[in-house]
Symmetry: C2
């Protein structure tokens, strides 16, 4: 479906929500298109690129209505390699602590890295002329979600300071291929370092505002509620998610797999959003008493994950392998999923835990 | 000494290193000058503001040599309220885990907030003309430290992207008073959101570079070493510190204090650096089984801590009060000091723990 590998874990067919096997994500720093996770909140729109217009409105001096040709010809083309990560990535680890009804139990592969090509949002905003009173930039897609109350287009905003940074793109290509419908064709936002929900697909309207978006998917969901909160659609409750906290997981070997006792090659990813990058990854096979530092792959871009690898000595019997990352602010992932459990199951960035069996 | 309260905890007289009692720091959002912690690496220089020059050199098209009058007259005056936090803040909690020889056992008050006035570094850099090959901006003071090997002026750098942000100041005033000698008179750098070490005092040279500073205090220290590393002065080992991870502590009541059982007013601070702010603070009196959310004071600036308060019900006998903060990336402080222990004792951002006795 939608050009994806047949072995994706499909959490939902409509809207289409799917993630790849760990091993598929482990294979490369830039994720192939057929492996890249899909997170949708409504049906995938069928858009005609010939008639597509992007409206730029709100607190601007010159509202714009731009065709794809306008974008390509009026602004310099820009390319960034960036990791996207769903706020629900690794929710399965929270579900093991306590059930999270109505939310998909995403594993650790609702994250992936692509090279995105388009124009810089900053250039488009400059052309529109941002008013001094502006503080936030909202993106609206065309995909109407009936998860929202009331049903509405998917949307969300980022602070103007972020919107004006050169890494934020309006993209029409992914890994040098035209965007596919499921990834937002003909045009999507890419906000590196922010939760995937802010990289709005099928973007048709940009609204410059003096406050954050009131869209359901920002004001009423994608929020960190305290553990004892009831899940309601009341806007403004809990902490608005946006920047991505440091996180990591193991991609190889698979959870629950058996191997001959002795050296086992372990590989994974670590990612930190915002102005941070991954600085160190530690692995333990003795419950965290001692840690070894993994080898970090090259940092291919300030906005990309770092893949890591290490060989561990697997004993006979059952072993829990732990992995934890530190970012460039010296922030460490919290130890246990119990510490970060929340009613909507977002941002499980507790230490990675993998069950291995040595034979 | 140096205009500080008589009840400061003086870790070292020369260089002067001192922090205030918890209760003194608790009294206000903007820290009075006599309460603000002091972290020095060499003797406090005696500088003549009349002859002071700031050199701007390196990868610039127009090297500058600026008097204080030049700064005041050539550039717009700017003011920011920002929290500074020493990378060694809360080291005492790490020392309880394992001794850290040769480093002061700072408590939780090596952090404070002031309103800084000066000019924007960005404006000065624009006047100098930054070369396209530049990536970092280094600051050098006049204070020669014999802690360094070889002895050298204290210095450090931040990425050019940060240096160009409007919140980074060259400051001559602190809380509307002229900078005092111990805080960097006549001119210091203020880099909001970064460890205090990057807010170089007595700054006399700014060098635009194509790599981070090679100064001892960036290349060889203020680095997060793995727990089993030996402490050496070899440049480049461990993780370079810079951005501040989310942290918090209790300021009132005092650690180890006794109170009648029943309601006790608890207050503290929480801080997150970089592009993050504090989003939530939780307090527990049952070892972390249940948590209550503290009331957060106003966010007075994106670069300032948030003070918090809550009333807890103190039982008779000994209670360990826990506090932990979440930042706007949904990052949570790690649970235990054992998790973050490192040989130089930096960045103890584990949960705050306060021993209270109910009578």
């Amino acid at each position: 479906m939608y050009g994806k590998r047949p072995d994706m874990t499909v959490h939902q067919v409509e809207p289409f929500n799917a993630e790849p096997p760990r091993a598929a994500l482990a294979a490369s720093t830039i994720t192939p298109l057929d492996v890249f996770y899909c997170r949708n909140h409504g049906p995938v729109p069928e858009a005609d690129p010939e008639t597509w217009r992007l409206e730029v409105a709100g607190l601007v001096t010159t509202p714009l209505s731009l065709s794809l040709d306008d974008l390509r010809t009026r602004f310099p083309v820009a390319t960034e390699t960036a990791t996207l990560q769903c706020a629900g990535n690794r929710r399965a680890g929270l579900v093991e602590v306590r059930d999270i009804p109505g939310e998909a139990p995403w594993g650790p592969t609702a994250t992936a890295t692509a090279t995105w090509t388009g124009v810089r949002l900053a250039d488009v905003l400059t052309a529109a002329g941002v008013s001094p009173s502006a503080s936030d930039v909202e993106f609206l897609g065309v995909d109407v979600s009936d998860i929202a109350d009331p049903p509405q287009e998917f949307g969300g905003s980022v602070p103007l300071r972020k919107a004006g940074m050169p890494e934020v793109l309006l993209a029409w290509a992914m890994n040098d291929e035209p965007l596919s419908p499921v990834h937002g064709a003909p045009l999507r936002v890419v906000v590196p370092g922010y939760i995937g929900a802010r990289s709005v697909k099928w973007v048709r309207r940009i609204e410059v505002r003096d406050r954050p978006s009131a869209n359901f998917f920002q004001a009423s969901t994608y929020r960190l509620l305290p553990p004892d909160a009831e899940v309601t659609a009341t806007p403004g409750e809990g902490v608005e998610l946006g920047l991505v906290a440091v996180n990591s997981d193991v991609l190889r070997p698979d959870d629950g797999s058996s191997h001959p006792a002795g050296p086992v090659a372990v590989a994974g990813y670590a990612f930190a959003g915002g102005d941070r990058t991954v600085a160190r990854v530690d692995v333990s096979t003795d419950g965290g008493s001692t840690w070894s530092q993994a080898e970090l792959d090259e940092q291919v871009s300030p906005w990309a994950w770092r893949r890591w690898s290490i060989t561990v000595d697997l004993p006979r019997g059952d072993t829990e392998l732990l992995a934890r990352a530190w970012d460039s602010s010296a922030a460490l992932q919290p130890e246990r999923p119990e510490h970060v459990w929340n009613p909507k199951g977002y941002v499980n960035n507790s230490w990675a835990r993998l069950r291995l069996h040595g034979t």
